[in-house]
């Protein structure tokens, strides 16, 4: 324990220099802006920084890049909350309750709680990183294909419970999501599936394109009828970016529960923040006494995923710092930049460059504090946007949506896709088919399929593999329990 505090002291002495704090501030601001713009995510932000980091010493470089990463986690949800367009993958879930809150005239509270939850998630993630890195990194190594598949199964079952109304419609949505996820090159065989000779479909359908279509553009469609109405705004509350104590109290437990969850998902190889946010949302909805409020502007439904995605970002640093391997696209870019500076990544990073490893950990805390300071005042001008009438706001959303779509892959083909999904989303909403199960199935489809097929290869085709490993059995049991629980709850609700 003493050693940890000693190392932490080294870390803070590295991180707390005027020069480093200045860079954390610049990086955080850049990250926040990158996160806010739909389609531009943390990976792009870090890549843009690479030429600037050339002249830096490695720890300043890594600290700056981390600041961009966390900044994007803070900024990503701004657009989700304000215009129903997620800034990046980790901000998808923030649309579910963030945008309804805006519509209810609570944009200020939504922006404030998202910054606060991000801070809490990031700080808890940092504490986990300090004290639990060793054991958690070991636990993550035990996740093979079978465990991964069981985890996916659990996440999917949990999402069915997200479905409003008919369970059958939720399953339909999920199946459509799975079908969409099979489009493109099959990684296991290299064979093209369902691309019908369209080269642009080779890499599959980017779920952010789907997301922007079914949420942002579809929202514009829905509002075409009443362009003259304004948001339901209380002129006194506008500009007030803070949460009341009762609102905050509702969020405490969800934030405390979601942070460890997000952290662990972040540690697992190949898992992203989007999965962490979905799982935390599903968990909170299941635990909530008022699940019917979720999706209609429940503040805890926003706080939970916001905390989860920031602690997930801290979790993603575990494989980077302990094994020297990237846990996410963003950390892959960071690793490349570090290598250019002559730092050899690998299991020896901690022992060989303690000032870098611990400096980064310390900078996470400093970064989170600075980001709250950046983000709370930044929310005030954002809220003013809502004074715009719909007939100005809607074209603005449409413009942002198209810009974001283009930034994703620099492909104009995605415009066709995004419009197709917008129409599909509109039809879905008329049929009352819920969208979250579809989105999650689309995100998880690839991993689910690959982990299943890899498990089958490993076991020579026997399903027994899922029941022969303790972690896998536990997860399957949890999936079963949550399914039964939600069915019972539904029945009770119906009576």
């Amino acid at each position: 324990m003493d050693a940890i505090f000693q190392n932490l002291a080294i870390g803070f002495s590295t991180a707390i220099t005027a020069y480093n704090i200045l860079w954390v501030f610049i990086g955080g601001l850049l990250g926040t802006v990158m996160g806010m713009l739909p389609g531009l995510g943390p990976a792009t932000g870090v890549a843009i920084l690479i030429p600037i980091t050339y002249g830096m010493n490695p720890s300043t470089a890594l600290i700056t890049m981390c600041a961009v990463y966390y900044g994007a986690m803070f900024g990503g949800s701004r657009a989700s909350i304000m215009i129903n367009t997620p800034g990046d993958a980790s901000a998808i879930v923030s649309c579910f309750d963030g945008y309804p809150m805006t519509k209810n005239g609570e944009a200020g509270a939504a922006l404030a709680i998202s910054a606060i939850a991000s801070f809490i998630g990031g700080t808890i993630g940092m504490l986990f990183l300090v004290f639990l890195t060793g054991p958690i990194a070991d636990a993550a190594l035990r996740f093979g294909p079978a465990e991964m598949f069981s985890l996916m199964l659990f996440a999917l079952v949990a999402t069915i419970t997200l479905a409003e109304g008919s369970l059958l419609k939720g399953v339909i949505a999920m199946c459509i999501g799975f079908m969409l996820s099979t489009i493109g090159i099959d990684a296991l065989t290299g064979i093209l599936r369902f691309t019908y000779g369209v080269e642009e479909l080779q890499d599959g359908i980017d779920f952010l394109v789907v997301m922007i279509g079914v949420y942002a553009i579809c929202e514009v469609f829905k509002n075409l009828k009443n362009l003259e109405t304004k948001y339901n705004l209380d002129s006194k509350s506008i500009g007030k970016v803070w949460v009341s104590w009762p609102q905050f109290k509702k969020c405490i437990m969800p934030m405390l529960r979601s942070s460890p969850l997000g952290f662990f998902v972040g540690v697992l190889p190949g898992m992203g923040a989007s999965i962490a946010t979905f799982m935390s949302y599903a968990m909170e909805k299941n635990l909530s006494k008022t699940p019917e409020k979720f999706g209609k502007g429940a503040i805890e439904g926003l706080a939970a995923p916001e905390a989860a995605n920031n602690s997930c970002a801290a979790g993603a640093m575990v494989p980077l710092l302990t094994l020297g391997i990237p846990g996410s696209g963003t950390t892959a870019v960071m690793l490349g930049a570090l290598m250019m500076l002559g730092v050899k990544p690998g299991p020896i990073l901690f022992s060989q460059y303690p000032e870098i490893a611990w400096g980064v950990i310390a900078s996470i805390l400093i970064g989170n504090i600075i980001l709250v300071i950046i983000n709370l005042p930044l929310a005030i001008p954002l809220v003013q946007l809502l004074k715009l009438p719909q007939r100005v706001m809607m074209p603005l959303i449409l413009g942002m949506a198209f810009m974001g779509t283009y930034f994703l892959n620099y492909s104009s083909f995605d415009f066709i896709l995004v419009m197709g999904f917008a129409l599909g989303g509109y039809i879905f909403s008329k049929l009352e088919i819920p969208l979250p199960p579809m989105i999650l199935a689309l995100i998880l489809g690839g991993t689910t399929e690959q982990s299943f097929r890899n498990s089958m290869s490993l076991s020579d085709g026997s399903l027994g593999i899922f029941f022969s490993k303790p972690i896998s059995v536990t997860l399957i049991a949890l999936a079963g329990l949550s399914l039964v629980y939600s069915l019972l709850k539904r029945r009770k609700h119906a009576q």
Binding site: A43, N454, L458
Partner: protein, 324 residues
């Protein structure tokens, strides 16, 4: 409007003047296309070249890196294909330019563009668990021969890549039926394969040396062979395949291609620039930091190399049944 017209006219004039004179020079910002997302090998190559060209002042214009991901490189390369005759557009390339075409994933081949240079290579390694009984590639393949299903081999991000093909070629050398090998594919590549081997979910992996080098040095896993042409000085305890009696050298090289229909003057300009670049200290330090080895070929050498490699890969892919 008049102003705009004047500018356009000027640009056109410059372009014409540029191609007409015997000595060609870039007349505007040089665009390095990384046909992938930030973070991968192509992206790193472009950023390294950008830094070397800029720091050593080898070009007079600005150099920017543009990411155009998609289609295993096809999106970026098609963009380059559209810049016919424009010497300011360059793109990163690798064996995938050939493999994607041979595997039927893309229409584009090296003949649709102008090969400019091969720049660097990474060597491919075979790694096993630290406490594994296999000390040489022979040990490993004998174990596979005896009981293929007991030796899952991690590979990624997709079958049909360099690492996979190299393993198949080794298998042929040892008389192991390629179809019998139990490949476990990790789309996350090294980021997933390394933990999978550390956690014992796979027993061996065929993977870029850089991904496992530090793990090997730290005693977390063991590299039992590399595809290099001679013993690597940073890896004295590991023999090459050739030293182990297998006739196989397999570079995972990366290089630069230009737009189609470049003039000899344009090609000569880049030949001069890259010949100088690979000799600079900046370049040498950067590639050493990244664990890459020099693999320079100029335009003519590289074109001949691509031609030969295409024939070789075609033969291999047909033999192992990947080419339909």
């Amino acid at each position: 409007m008049k102003k705009l017209f004047a500018v356009v006219l000027l640009v056109v004039l410059f372009a014409v003047a540029g191609t007409a004179s015997a000595e060609w020079k870039p007349s505007r910002t040089i665009e390095l296309i990384a046909p992938a997302n930030p973070g991968g090998g192509w992206d790193m190559l472009c950023r390294t070249v950008q830094k070397a060209l800029t720091d050593e002042k080898l070009v007079e214009k600005n150099v920017i890196v543009v990411n155009k991901p998609g289609g295993g490189g096809a999106t970026g390369w098609n963009y380059l294909k559209g810049k016919k005759g424009q010497g300011e557009y360059l793109s990163a390339t690798s064996t995938l330019l050939m493999l994607n075409n041979l595997l039927g994933k893309s229409e584009i081949t090296y003949k649709d563009v102008t090969p400019i240079a091969a720049l660097q290579t990474e060597w491919i390694s075979i790694a096993v668990e630290q406490d594994s009984p296999w000390k040489t590639v022979k040990d490993l393949f004998e174990a596979i021969k005896a009981d293929p299903s007991s030796v899952p081999v991690g590979v990624g991000p997709t079958l049909g890549n360099n690492d996979h093909l190299m393993f198949l070629e080794l298998a042929q050398e040892f008389g192991v039926e390629p179809a019998s090998i139990k490949f476990i594919v990790y789309p996350g590549a090294g980021g997933e394969i390394v933990p999978a081997l550390l956690g014992g979910h796979v027993k061996a992996t065929t993977i870029g040396l850089g991904e496992v080098l530090e793990q090997h040095k730290a005693g977390k896993m063991r590299i039992i062979g590399v595809s290099a042409d001679q013993k690597l000085d940073f890896l004295p305890d590991v023999d090459t395949f050739t030293a182990q009696g297998v006739n196989l050298v397999f570079p995972h090289w990366r290089g630069i291609i230009g737009a189609p229909d470049l003039t000899p003057e344009q090609v000569k300009y880049w030949d001069d620039v890259f010949t100088k670049m690979v000799q600079t200290e900046t370049w040498k330090t950067l590639i050493a930091n990244l664990g890459w080895s020099n693999f320079y070929q100029n335009s003519a050498e590289h074109t001949a190399f691509l031609e030969k490699s295409t024939t070789d890969f075609d033969k291999l892919l047909t033999q192992v049944g990947l080419k339909k």
